[in-house]
């Protein structure tokens, strides 16, 4: 066991899988020699050589497109997009090729690649560095999408992602890259893709979050400690395929659902979760499902970002509102 940050846990997972499986290769802009702008891939080139860990030209379409080709021909590429806001040239490759290859070749060609990308706001970052665009992947059949919120899950999900036969988008909440440490086993272990985690059991209300919002939600719960609200907290961990069973089972028990997300408001992951609750648990609901999200606006630059960013205060406010809701 070692105490690791989320970032170090991903690094360890990569190192371990590269050691075990010679077909794993790692690349991206500045991901080789420098070890990435956040240092997620630090030390890997030195250990595994330039054939397996390398810098790419600045070209996201080339990064993803090459990963697809490599995956088809026997490698297990783990490609890095430096920031999720820059993935769009590569998005074409992800959507029009990676996601469809298995289906259109009726199983002949799979694309066992992982595309990693840091994402999310709250860091007073430059333009295009703060968005939360997971819906754009979750909306595409054929893709898997995971977002860890703890070092333990980060390592286990990365190992599962590398070993997965399908393309996995691995979004990393960069705001909590180094925010805290957790005991992480040294040995190889997997966290199942497609399985949410009940972080805290409760009877009064179901609160669902993922990524950096897990931490904000936990802070909000701390704020409300004396309020006597019995929250069941669920960390989605995987966005696609989403673990509706765990969420709906909880909603049926508590009768109240709150989804916390730093995405823009409309047509996001929260929208789908609430729809499912209405479709499949309507008669159990004691209050209308609620969500705390950003607004339907372009993520503001740092001096206006606080208007958009979901914080513990707003989450606590909505939890109270939902707890006190009476029909």
């Amino acid at each position: 066991m070692a105490e690791l940050t989320l970032l170090q846990a991903i690094n360890k997972a990569l190192e371990q899988q590269m050691e075990k499986d010679k077909s794993v290769v790692v690349f991206g802009e500045d991901a080789g020699f420098e070890g990435g702008v956040f240092r997620v891939t630090a030390g890997l080139q030195k250990k595994f050589g330039e054939d397996r860990v390398f810098d790419t030209p600045i070209a996201e379409a080339a990064i993803v497109g090459n990963a697809i080709g490599m995956a088809i021909n026997g490698l297990k590429p783990v490609a890095e997009i430096q920031f999720s806001g820059f993935m769009f040239p590569g998005y074409n490759q992800i959507v029009t090729h990676a996601a469809r290859m298995r289906n259109r070749s009726r199983g002949k060609y799979g694309v066992p690649m992982v595309v990693r990308m840091p994402y999310g706001g709250g860091l007073r970052a430059l333009e295009h560095h703060s968005e939360s665009l997971e819906t754009l992947f979750a909306h595409i059949p054929g893709l898997k999408l995971v977002i860890p919120s703890t070092p333990y899950d980060a390592k286990g999900l990365m190992i599962a992602a590398i070993q997965d036969p399908d393309p996995v988008i691995f979004m990393e909440p960069k705001r909590i890259y180094r925010a805290f440490k957790q005991e992480v086993p040294d040995q190889e272990y997997k966290v199942e893709i497609g399985k949410a985690r009940v972080v805290k059991k409760g009877e009064g209300m179901t609160v669902v979050a993922w990524g950096a919002m897990m931490r904000e939600t936990q802070k909000a719960l701390k704020r409300l400690e004396k309020e006597n609200i019995d929250v069941e907290l669920i960390d989605l961990r995987t966005i696609a395929p989403l673990d509706y069973d765990t969420v709906l089972e909880s909603v049926k028990k508590t009768g109240r659902l709150l989804v916390v997300s730093e995405q823009v408001k409309s047509l996001g992951i929260a929208s789908e979760l609430i729809t499912r609750a209405n479709e499949e648990a309507f008669l159990y609901l004691e209050a209308p499902p609620m969500r705390v999200t950003g607004h339907d606006i372009t993520v503001p630059l740092p001096k206006g970002e606080h208007h958009h960013m979901v914080d513990e205060k707003r989450i606590a406010h909505t939890i109270k509102k939902l707890a006190n809701y009476e029909v």
Binding site: D30, V37, I58, G85, D296, P300, L301, K303, G304
Partner: protein
């Protein structure tokens, strides 16, 4: 003709001033009036002072991440001086000096990097597009701006900047090819500052020069000493004339060096040697141009000292003003997403305002 005299396939590089400010290519020394020369030098100096000060503010925690321009002033001021007011500047994200010359105020420039969208709300008649953070996409915008200028007979060119790393991007190719096919009046300057964050130029392209990529587009390409403001001026002047005649785009590789980090989040000591940086410091574009002006009796030590004092004060005062601007108003983050705010967005804003009021009361 400069453009036909320096073959990028033979690695020929165009230069007017050597690093000591001596004219080495008398035939091509541009005829620029004294006032303009001094204005060019002053703007280069202001960009440099603003850059150094911003780095200090950033280290003090008063400024956010930004992309320093130090070392690349000549590659930006020479070209801008060769443009007309109605010509367009389409920057990437390291063109603070070019933007200043083209009419973006220092306050606006600082405000953008300070994290306020007002920093991209340029004054009327300033034909400059906002900073372009994603790599390479601006080349297509510039091509479109140029095409529009051509068919509307505006008699104006578009000048786009991109970095050496940016030329690896698909959109660089797409934009150059598009502009070439339609003879759009586009000038693309690749500031080859040798590194794309940590990745050296040799890992971006196997081409010997970046300028030689022009050959494949069927347009002129030339490598220029990017630290030589007069060479950069002369070559852009010629490219502009070509473009306005309807002869199409030109690709200019400005061979230069980023003396600072990629952005303030970057530590270049991981991937660059000190000796290399020291070597490039001897080729500083400002020192070279100052020597040239001094030889022409247009500049001297007293003027230099007075200018430095003036600019330090100007930059300090400007930054204080920017700091005093504080946070962005709630209205601002909502009202510019559309020309007219959709009804539901208006409701979202009202709901958020109600929440703010409520949480204030509690």
């Amino acid at each position: 003709m400069i453009l036909t005299s320096f073959d990028p396939l033979k690695k020929e590089q165009f230069q007017v001033l050597d690093k000591d400010g001596k004219v080495v290519n008398k035939d091509y020394e541009p005829k620029i009036d004294d006032d303009t020369l001094i204005h060019m030098y002053k703007t280069m100096s202001l960009a440099r002072v603003a850059d150094i000060k911003a780095l200090q503010y950033q280290r003090q925690g008063r400024m956010l991440t930004f992309a320093p321009v130090q070392g690349q002033e000549a590659a930006q001021i020479g070209p801008m001086a060769a443009l007309d007011k109605k010509d367009w500047l389409v920057p990437a994200f390291r063109e603070a000096a070019a933007m200043l010359y083209k009419g973006v105020t220092l306050e606006q420039s600082y405000l953008y990097w300070y994290g306020n969208e007002r920093g991209s709300q340029f004054d009327e008649g300033v034909n400059v597009l906002p900073v372009n953070v994603p790599i390479g996409s601006q080349i297509n915008h510039a091509s479109g701006v140029a095409y529009a200028s051509k068919i509307q007979k505006q008699d104006a060119v578009a000048l786009a900047y991109i970095g050496d790393g940016g030329t690896s991007h698909g959109e660089f190719h797409e934009g150059m090819n598009f502009a070439a096919v339609y003879n759009a009046p586009l000038i693309t300057i690749v500031q080859n500052n040798q590194y794309a964050i940590s990745t050296p130029r040799a890992k971006q392209t196997k081409s010997e020069t970046i300028a030689q990529k022009a050959v494949a587009y069927g347009i002129p390409g030339i490598q220029v000493d990017g630290n030589d403001v007069l060479a950069m001026y002369a070559v852009v002047k010629e490219a502009r004339e070509r473009a306005l005649k309807g002869d199409g785009p030109t690709l200019i590789e400005a061979f230069t060096y980023r003396l600072g980090p990629h952005t303030t989040s970057d530590d270049p000591t991981i991937y660059r040697k000190d000796e290399e940086v020291e070597e490039w410091k001897t080729k500083d574009p400002l020192i070279r141009f100052r020597k040239y002006l001094t030889n022409k009796k247009l500049w001297n030590k007293d003027k230099e000292e007075a200018l430095q004092e003036e600019y330090k004060k100007l930059v300090n005062d400007t930054f204080k003003k920017v700091e005093a601007s504080g946070l962005v108003e709630l209205d601002d983050v909502f009202k510019y997403n559309y020309a007219e705010m959709p009804r539901d967005l208006q409701k979202q804003k009202e709901a958020y305002e109600a929440y703010l009021k409520e949480s204030e009361e509690n």
